[in-house]
Amino acid sequence: MKFIDEYRNSELAEKLAQKIASRSTKSIKVMEFCGGHTHAILRYGIRQLVPKTVEMKSGPGCPVCVTATADLDKAIALAHLPDVIITTFGDMVRVPGSYSSLQQAKAEGADVRIVYSTIDVVEIARANPEKSVIFIGIGFETTAPTIAASILKAQQEKMENFHVLSLNKLTPPVIKALLDSGEVKLDGIVCPGHVSVIIGSHPYEFIPRDYGVACVISGFEPLDILLCIDKLVEQIERGEPKVEIAYPRGVKPEGNRKAWQLMEDVFEVGEANWRGIGIVPHSGLKVREKYEQFDADKAFSVSLKPPREPEGCRCGDVIRGAATPLECKLFGKVCTPERPVGPCMVSSEGACAAYYQYGGPENLPGF
């Protein structure tokens, strides 16, 4: 397939890896923010390709994984309300909440539907005027414009039964929170490619300026990621951190202004609750007052028991890059993709699921 196959050339990948090794003298830590990158890095064995001087860590870039248990509990409680249809993206339904999951709610009779696109949610609302349709909105800047577009569509059609529980989150503020905490010392960041298609490269500029950390925006094919690592190593070796785009076929410095404006029209920035990190100011998107009739938080009220985390689960540490999945005692034993304990094993973008699927037998207990 065009724009995919040519970036998967293994011969070029090996040469590129050799070049990275030849110029890398300092021991460095780089974090890939995006779960899509985590998946690709494990799938293509990029950790094994890069020199030992380059340590790669996974970050908080899997939207399902970073959804706080309390927010998930709210979604499950909404599902149990009468005459409600819950819609959401696939992986969300399997994530265990404190006391249940959306999947369990569905088994108990709740109407929970998996959608591919917010366009589907609008259609479900149109086809079920007697029901309240609630979309559990997760995702980063890539997805938020599509949710904004669905709210505008609902307004155009004067729909009264369309609602969004906005759990959407923003990337640069959580990168700042991680850097501020100082828990993981980073030299470079593999910046998320498709978030950056929307936001461009400018919102990352504070990272090299204020923290001295190198930033390179990467595509998702193996050659894209190796090129990104090469540029990160080059910046760090020279001691000249900056923001670079290694995915220029997709990302422009200014981003996609049209999508960005739509997002800004519908949402305002507020705090968000991140699993493993807690409340991060300015990192969430809330539905603006002028669209509050579509805001599930305003339209419905549910009472919730205090959230509780699964015992022994280290998803929070994995999300912050403070532990690898292999350091979790549950990994591969109690917690598997078939019977996940935490969200990082549920989502295909979760670090635990990627380690389990592609990590090789040496990464699984008992080998």
Binding site: Q18, G36, P63, F89, Y116, T118, T143, P145, T146, G250
Partner: protein, 75 residues
Amino acid sequence: MCLAIPVRIVSIDGDEAEAEIAGVRRQVSIAFTPEARVGDYVLLHTGYAIGVIDEAEAEETLKLLEEIASLSEVY
């Protein structure tokens, strides 16, 4: 979740377009990419084209990769 795949636009009707990947066609929204034209490749994310792929930049990246690879032979 932030997955987006390159698809080729085959026809356009206002904000809607038909796109093709690997012989499969489906409806996509081009509300965020009004500049998209028939024949363009766009990045498709959950039913929406979020960006038009810059073919010249794609060529440049491939050239850069080839150059890097040929340089590495002298190491």
